[in-house]
């Protein structure tokens, strides 16, 4: 009797022990527990968003349970004749896209210049310039938003009012560092040899930059454009702090409406934003991958992305 009871108890401890051993692991065993855990994590992290997208196609008016397929909430955004039409949704989509598209070239041009300058600058001040460039990445957005809000409201207000222009200036400020990091990674990979060879062959520094370095940097520049688009369109705090009225973006709209009893049109709007930023990032990864292939780099571009010290 007592023996029969002991066997299953022993068996469970053995299973637990092997889970544990699997976790702290050796490089050769197959850690089933870890694999299951990882997949559970991934499902937990993705499924809520997938469900939110599914609800954007809801035939019912509920934002929490799916009652059949319909496109009515997308019509509510785009189709003025639809009974669900809400002009503020289309306005938010327009504002988000406008900010992202204007921010893209400004942040990319400034950032690429900054990256090249910093990489080729060996002198006094280069250390503090590097630190300055990294600070926007680690400053909590609330602090940066407060700072920008207070300066636009109190000092710059004579020539830039709070609104779209202030939002663009804010977006450029926080996306600049991402451009620098992406570009700098490529600059280190390219090395200085090509430029030096060009200059040995008689090119001026300007020609070396234009005809050698910039073409070599092209993938990083295009990738930066798409990354800036993605982080600009997802931004909430800076956009919200620099807006008084008439400049509501999609995230601001979500923030103000998520807790109200609403209909799935908010999900439809959020899904459009999700698709646009994921597409932008896919483009960025594909561009970097094409570049890696040509360089004979075997590591995948996704891995490079994971290694970016953002």
């Amino acid at each position: 009797m007592s023996l029969a009871r002991e066997v299953p108890v022993g068996a469970t401890t053995a299973i637990r022990a092997s889970w544990f051993r699997g976790f702290i692991s050796n490089p050769w065993a197959k850690p089933r527990f870890l694999a299951g855990f990882t997949w559970l994590y991934i499902i937990w992290s993705i499924a809520p968003v997938v469900i939110a997208v599914q609800i954007s196609f809801n035939a019912g008016r509920s934002r929490s349970s799916f009652q059949g397929f319909s496109l009515q909430w997308y019509q509510g955004i785009f189709d003025r004749a639809s009974e669900n039409f809400d002009a503020t949704l289309l306005a938010a989509l327009g504002q988000s896209l406008k900010l992202a598209v204007i921010t893209m070239p400004i942040a990319t041009i400034l950032g690429v210049g900054l990256a090249i300058g910093l990489a080729r600058w060996r002198g006094r001040g280069s250390g503090s310039a590097n630190a300055l460039m990294l600070f926007p990445l680690v400053t909590p957005e609330l602090v940066m938003g407060t700072a920008l809000f207070l300066i636009f409201a109190n000092l710059f207000d004579t020539f830039v009012k709070l609104g779209t222009t202030a939002q663009v200036l804010g977006h450029v400020t926080f996306s600049l560092s991402y451009v620098v990091i992406v570009t700098r990674g490529r600059l280190f990979a390219i090395g200085r040899e090509y430029e030096e060879a060009a200059m040995d062959l008689g090119a001026s520094p300007g020609q070396a930059l234009r005809r050698i370095l910039l073409p070599l940097l092209a993938p990083a520049i295009f990738a930066s454009l798409f990354i800036v688009f993605a982080i600009s369109i997802d931004d909430f705090v800076i956009s919200a702090f620099l807006c008084i009225e008439g400049c509501t973006t999609i995230p601001i709209k979500i923030y103000s409406a998520a807790r109200n009893a609403g209909n799935p049109s908010l999900n439809a709007l959020a899904s459009i934003m999700l698709v646009s930023s994921l597409m932008a990032i896919t483009f960025a990864v594909l561009i970097l991958r094409a570049f890696n292939r040509r360089q004979g780099n075997t590591r995948s571009a996704v891995e490079d992305f994971a290694r970016l010290e953002i």
Partner: protein, 294 residues
């Protein structure tokens, strides 16, 4: 070439910080009740700043919000480490052929709007009586413990819900730097540990874990920084007074209560506090970059 970028950052990053100080140490406009910043340091007035420091020291609202912020962050970071370490470890060590797929799935939330991901949970946790969210449907229909949908944004559950939101929102940012650190570990060091007679367990505790310590610290700091500036997660997941944290207080002082000097003072104190974390992170990143270049 770096000049325009640097000028941009000085005008729109450094100078605005000075504006926080000018507003914090300035007064209120008597007519419009808006902030009246004082740009000259010699004329600074520390009344509002003293009020906030007083609140922090004597248990006023600022201290309550600050302590709640620390508690939420401590719990959220602990959960992130417990969940994130095994995941990062598995993908870096055992990802195999699926590595790129796993990484893609892990990076995807990184590029989804934070607000959209919170919206997803608000919907899942909905307690609407006619059409409850998925979580409440499961609890009511599939378990015998609940008769009616639970309001997850209220009562004691509110704290749990906000922490869930924080973990859900920021954990990808923890996993990625940790993954990078684990992936950099040279496998031959693990082989050496095993060859020298280390058990799998002692190899993990004495080789892998110490070598990934930098990654854990970097990941911890990188998720703590935005959490200190968060106000939207409590607002969206609960929206109640009992879940307000320091970010909510700053946001409301500046935008709704018309107390910009107090709000700016609190922002200054918060910045001073997180500056320690920021400096730590910047130093460790630049050290890692220097080592990688070598």
């Amino acid at each position: 070439m770096a000049v325009p970028g640097i000028a941009w950052l000085i005008i729109l990053f450094i100078l605005p910080f000075y504006a926080i100080a000018a507003v914090a140490f300035g007064g209120l406009d008597p007519i419009f009740a808006g902030p009246a910043p004082t740009w000259n340091p010699l004329e600074w007035d520390f009344t509002a700043f003293r009020t906030i420091v007083g609140e922090l020291v004597s248990g006023g609202p600022a201290q309550i919000f600050f302590r709640r912020t620390l508690l939420y962050i401590a719990i959220a970071v602990s959960i992130s480490i417990t969940v994130g370490y095994p995941v990062a470890y598995y993908v870096s060590r055992h990802g195999g052929r699926l590595k790129v797929l796993l990484l893609t799935l892990m990076i995807a939330p990184f590029w989804m709007s934070y607000l959209m991901r919170m919206l997803a949970w608000v919907n899942l946790l909905s307690d609407s009586p006619e059409t409850p969210g998925l979580i409440n449907q499961l609890l009511v229909d599939a378990t015998p413990f609940f008769d009616s949908p639970v309001n997850w944004g209220a009562g004691n559950a509110a704290h749990m819900t906000v922490i869930l939101g924080l973990v859900y929102g920021y954990i990808p940012f923890f996993i990625l730097p940790l993954y990078a650190a684990l992936d950099r570990i040279d496998r031959s060091q693990l082989d050496a540990a095993r060859d020298l007679g280390g058990s799998p367990r002692s190899t993990f505790w004495r080789v892998t874990l110490p070598l990934s310590k930098q990654g854990i610290l970097a990941g911890t700091v990188i998720i703590m920084l935005p959490m200190f500036g968060d106000y939207y997660t409590p607002d969206l997941m609960s929206g109640q007074n009992k879940t307000r944290i320091i970010g909510n207080q700053i946001n409301s002082l500046i935008h709704t209560q018309g107390k910009a000097p107090e709000g700016a003072s609190l922002t200054l104190l918060l910045s001073g506090f997180v500056a320690i974390l920021m400096l730590y992170y910047l130093i460790s990143v630049s050290r890692a970059a220097r080592e990688a270049r070598r």
